[in-house]
Structures are given as C-alpha cells and as structure tokens.
C-alpha cells in the first residue's frame, strides 16, 4: 500500500473515532474501510485494521472475522485478544470460545523451520569438510525433520474454521430444511469448525465448540 492511501486511512479512521455523531462516524469509517479494501495487503496489521473499522461500524461478526485472521498471524498480540474479547461481548458470545492454543503463528513456525534447516545445513557442511560433528549433525537432522513434519501435520490436520456472519439455523440434513438441530438459530459471530460440505456446495457441515454437528448455508459463513 502506498503512503498516501495509508495516511488517508489513518486520518479518516481518527476522524471517525473522534466524530461527534453516529452519522459522521459511519461516513468516515466507511470511507476508511473502502480505502483499505481497495488497497489490500498481506499481514496481520491489515486484518486488524479491517477488524477495527468493522467494529466501529458495529458490524461485529465481520470485525470478529478479521480479528481472528489477525490473531492467526500474531497469536501473542494482546491487543488483538482484547479486541476479540470486546467484540465477543458485543455479540454476547462467551470469549473463551475464541481462544486459540498455538503459541506461534503459521508464518513463525515456518520461520523456525527455516532456521533449523539452515543450522542443520551448516552442521552437515562442517561434518563434510572436517569429518567431525557427525553426531550433532544427526541430532539436528532428526530434530529438524521432526519439526517440519509436525508443522505439516498440524497444518493438514487442523480443521478450517469459519465465523457465522448472520444468524442461521443449524440443519440436520440439507435435504430437509425443517429438521433443525435447535429450535433457535445460531447467533451471528459463532465460531464453527468445518468438517464437510453438501454435494452442491450450498451447505457446509460444521461442528460447534460443544461438539454438535449440523449444516449451515455457505453464504452465511466467513471462512478463516
């Protein structure tokens, strides 16, 4: 993103925060949001700023979605966790349902893997040229292989998650829309794990944090 749009975004955002009326806040934040969306970036900060913008527009499911994306990139960032907590309060959903166990983000894990690969390479090179450090080279090789495999398995086995953007009924079977799992719909902002989908792709099979399985319309889900 060039400086200009970035600076414009900050200015508009600050104007929105300081706005004396709701109308003015919505106007400024909407313009700021448009600038962000027109100049996409990769990174947790971009998602975090999107989350803040949606939060101020009171679009809490969308804010939560972007905060969770930012948290995936910066899992130790306390500001993001605080914002998730605030958003969960607005959505009246328990905060702990959003807690994420991994300490490192996926990018950080890959960086660690790169460093270990580099060290292993160096040790092996020393062994080749000097004939020494054979044991150390084997240890590093084993350890690095384990770490890389663990990262790959974690990535492969970790289910996709999604945030419910709108309230939706949890259906037992897409063929019968009257068969609901619960009488009440799932509230917007509910975090769900994806475990499958219907053949036409219009319904996504999800599991709630409490283990209950059902189908929700794919159009109402924001995939993380």
């Amino acid at each position: 993103m060039e400086n200009n749009p970035q600076e414009q975004f900050y200015d508009l955002y600050q104007k929105g925060v300081a706005a004396p009326s709701l109308a003015e806040r919505e106007k400024n934040i909407n313009e700021a949001l448009t600038l962000l969306l027109d100049n996409p970036e990769e990174g947790g900060t971009y998602d975090y700023n999107l989350g803040n913008s949606y939060y101020l527009l009171e679009e809490y499911p969308w804010a939560l979605y972007y905060y969770l994306k930012a948290e995936a990139r910066s899992p130790r960032d306390q500001e993001i966790k605080m914002n998730i907590e605030r958003t969960a309060e607005q959505l009246q959903i328990p905060f702990k349902s959003y807690l994420r166990p991994p300490f490192f983000s996926h990018a950080e894990e890959l960086w660690i893997a790169q460093v270990l690969i580099g060290i292993t390479f160096l040790v092996f090179s020393l062994f080749v040229w000097t004939g020494k450090f054979k044991k150390i080279a084997r240890v590093f090789l084993g350890f690095t292989s384990f770490i890389v495999l663990a990262i790959a398995l974690q990535f492969y086995l970790t289910p996709d998650r999604a945030v419910l953007a709108q309230a939706a009924f949890l259906i037992k079977d897409p063929k019968n829309l009257n068969e609901r799992v619960f009488l009440e719909p799932l509230p917007p902002g509910t975090l769900l794990e994806i475990i499958g989908k219907s053949p036409d792709g219009e319904w996504i099979k999800v599991v709630q944090p409490n283990g209950i399985v059902g189908f929700v319309p794919s159009e109402k889900l924001l995939l993380l």
């Binding site: 709701l22 990769e42 700023n49």
Partner: protein, 556 residues
Amino acid sequence: MVKRGFVRLMILWVLFPIFLAAQGGQTVRVFADPDSNLLENLPIRGTISVEHPNTAPIDKTSFLIKNVPLKTEQIKEVRYSPKDPLTLTIFRFELPARGKGLYPLDEISVKVGGKVYKSAAASFEVKGRGGALKSNPIGVSPSKKKPMLILEAFIEPLKTLYPGQKTKVGYRYYYNQSIDATKEVLPLLEAEGLKKVGGKVVRFAQEGDMSLLEVAQVVQAIKPGVYVFPPSYFEGYVIDRNGEHLPPAIESETPKMRIEVIPLPEETKPASYKNGIGSYTFATKLETTPHVEVGEKMVLRASFTGAPLEDLELPDLCCQPGMAGRFHFGDIPPAPVLEGDTLHYSIEIRPIDPQVKEIPSLEFSYFDPEKREYKKIQAKAIPITVKPIVVEEETKDVAEVWPRMDVKPLPVTIGPVKKMKPSAAPIQFFESWWGLLTIPIAAILVLLQVKLKSVLEVRREQKNQKTSLKLLESLSTCPPAELPARIKECFLLKLLEMGEIPLLYPYEELTNDGTKGVVKKFLSQVDAWNYAQGEQSRQAMLLKAEVTYQELTDGK
C-alpha cells in the same frame, strides 16, 4: 215395556258391528323400508307400503320427506282378499347417494283419502361398495335371466386435446344381475400422463332390463403427446342371496383407448396469449371515475364470455402497449368471479404519468381448436383524465428523518489501528510453504559439497603421486648421493606403470628377459657407475637413463 227394550238392544247389536267394521276399514298405515345391502355412492332405494281402505285413494304426488317432495313409483297394489276392504299399495322411492355409514330415514308422509299419514322414522346402513354391482331391475325376477355384464370405456367429448383442455374418461357397466367384482383393470381412471380434475363421479341408472353404473373422471391435458391406455378388463361372479359366488365367471373387456394431445402452434402465438382454448368474447369497462389524480386508484373490469371459462386466466395487461410505464398495477393479482356465463376480473390500476389520456385498447387472445388458429380480440380504449399532483420539496433535516444518525456514537473501547509495514518478497517467501524448498536445496548443497570434497582429494592425490617421468625429470637436479637410488626408483616405477611388475621390489630379482632384462642390465650399470663416480660418469649415466627410458616408453 219389555218388548220395546229388546228391540232397542237388537238394533244396537246390528249396528255396532257395522260401526266397528266401518272404523276398522278406515285405518291407514304407512311403512317405509330402505333396501338392504345399500352401497356407497349409489342412490338410496327402498319401498313405501301404504295399507288403506279401498275407498280412500292415495295421492301419489303427495309423498314428502322432510317437507321435500319425494318422487315415487307404484309397483304393486294388492288386496288381501276380494271381500277385504283394505288394499296394500307398494311404491318405490329413491334418495340421493351417500357415503358409507349409518343414517336415519326421516318420516315419509302421504295423503290418503285427503288426510296426511306418516311412516315411522327408521334407520339404514350404507356399506362400502367393495366391487359389488347390485342389480335391482324393476319388475324382473333376477333368477330367470342369464347373467350378463358389458363393460364399456369412453372418452367424451374430446379425444384430441390441446394442453389445458379437459375431457371426461370413464367406464359404463351394463349388467342385469348383482355381480361381485373379483378383478378390475381400469387404466382410464388412472389417466397416466394427464391431470385429474376433481374426483370420480358415479351415476346409476336403469335402462330397461339392464342396470347401468357409470364411473367418470374429468382429466386435463398437460403435455403434448399420444397417450395410449391398454385394454380394460372386468371379472366377477353373480352373488346369490347368501352372498356366495355362482360360477361361471362373468368377464368383459374393452379395447385400448387413445388420447392425443396436440401442442399449440408456437410460431403464431400472440404475446397476449395466456391459456384460453375455445371461443370467447372480451370487453373492458372502467368501474370507477375516469377523472383521477396521479397515483389514484382505478378499477378496470375485464369480462370474458364463451367456453370454457373455468381456469381462464387474465392476460398480462401490465406489459401491453400503452400500459407499461404509465400505469401501476396492484400487488395482489385479481381473483376471477363467475357471474352466470361471464367471467370477470377486477383489476386495480393507478396512473403514474399525468400525460396519460386513456386506458389503451387491451388485447386478449385465445386459441380456436376448431379452426386451429389463434384469435385476437381488442377491447375498446377508455378515455381518462389524469391530474398531476404537486410534490412538496423535502425540507426535512437528515437528522430529523433519521433521528438515530444524530445520536452520539459509542465510546471506542478497542485498541487503536496500527501502522502497516510492507513485507519484502524474500521474507514472504520464507513465511510460505514455498520456503520449505530450502530443504531439498540444502540437501543438494550438502551432496555437492561431498562431491566437491572427493574431487579435491583425488586431485590432491594425483598431485602428490610420484611418477616415473617426474622422477626422471628430477634426476638432473638430484643430489649425486641420491642419484643412483632415484634412478632405480624411476625405472622400477616405470616397469610398474608398464605393468611389467606387480609391485616394486629390488631390481636384482628382475628376470633377464625382455623389458625387465633391459632395466636390470641398466640398473646394474648404475651400480657400477655408483662405484666409479665422477662428473663425466654422472652425465653419461643421466644421458643413458634418458635414452633407456625413452626406449622403454617407445616400446623398443
């Protein structure tokens, strides 16, 4: 005195029986008896028996049930005896068909001799049909007739239809005895491929000796095609008084039947055509005032006459020339109203253009199946006047219209936004799965290093390795004390290089023949020189060594 009393008593004795007889002869009794074995969907039949004096005639048109005239038919009149003053007259009556169940039979009244007499209330049971055809031919004893049943299939009035048209299909059973059906195959009533309209209609009639049961179903054509219905079949048995089947079986079969549904011609179909197939007239009429303001409601009545009117749909008037963009139609589509032989639709419209001067001539089209062509009818245009309305300018404040927007916003409780730092491409590379390409790259680099190392070692060995030629070249600079030993080493190495000897050993052990013999001889001379010493000997020895070496190399 006694004589007078006796006479009076005698008169009483004579008159009293006459009086009694007269009273007894004037008793009228009415009995109403529904038939037994009444079946559902068939008329309720029974008999009315009237016992009356001969002198009291029955008014045959006076039969009433629940004050409603009841049609009867006299079937018998019986005198108990020639001298009996009473007569029994029997009538047959018929009431409308009912479904299965138990019903009361209301009192039936009749005028006899000018006075009204009533039967007692009774009840009757209607049973499920169960395939039994009950024959009750009037005046004919069933046991005397040969049992007969004719099954007839019919498609009336149309056998060739257009989609949307209706016709009636069904069967007629002609029979002369009560027959219990054991097998019926009636594909016409299933009407596969056609749409059934309403339920089956059952009709019972008597045609001479034969009873008639008609079962009909109205069907509507949907898709073009030829619909062939296989032959129909009936099998049954005559049932006796005990309900037992009497062989032989009574069978009847009908040939296959065919209905053809022809598609409507598409090329000539007018845009205003909806679904009318038949012959119609069409007219429109304004039911409200023709002088309105923009947006004011008007009711336009569209009227259709002709046949068939049921299911006739209103054409899409909103899209017709002169209507689109000038009139707004109500959200709820108008419902059809059938008044006599005219079908009406009352349509709500609102003019939205003050320039509109009339409701245009609306078009209705239908398909004439006899001429096999579409016909169009144009209704007359209806002049109207539309006044424009003055729109007041919106002067309200946005804040007033949307009062919520003027509200103070909620305090911000989330953290501030962050400055974004652009991420370099190489960093992004390592943060992605592509970065794991460093694994094979590192492995390749390690293998390359291994290869490099082995190459270098070989080269080093090669570099350090002594050869006979190198030794020969070093002879000229070799110290004199080392010269003999070096010459020996050179030539023995040469033999080794030539493959003459497998390993290095003292020249004294060489054989005397061939190349080995030459070398042995020369090296002996070197030893001799070693003892002689002197520079001249040294130079000669060096020269000799070069020559001998060259000879060995040349293979001489």
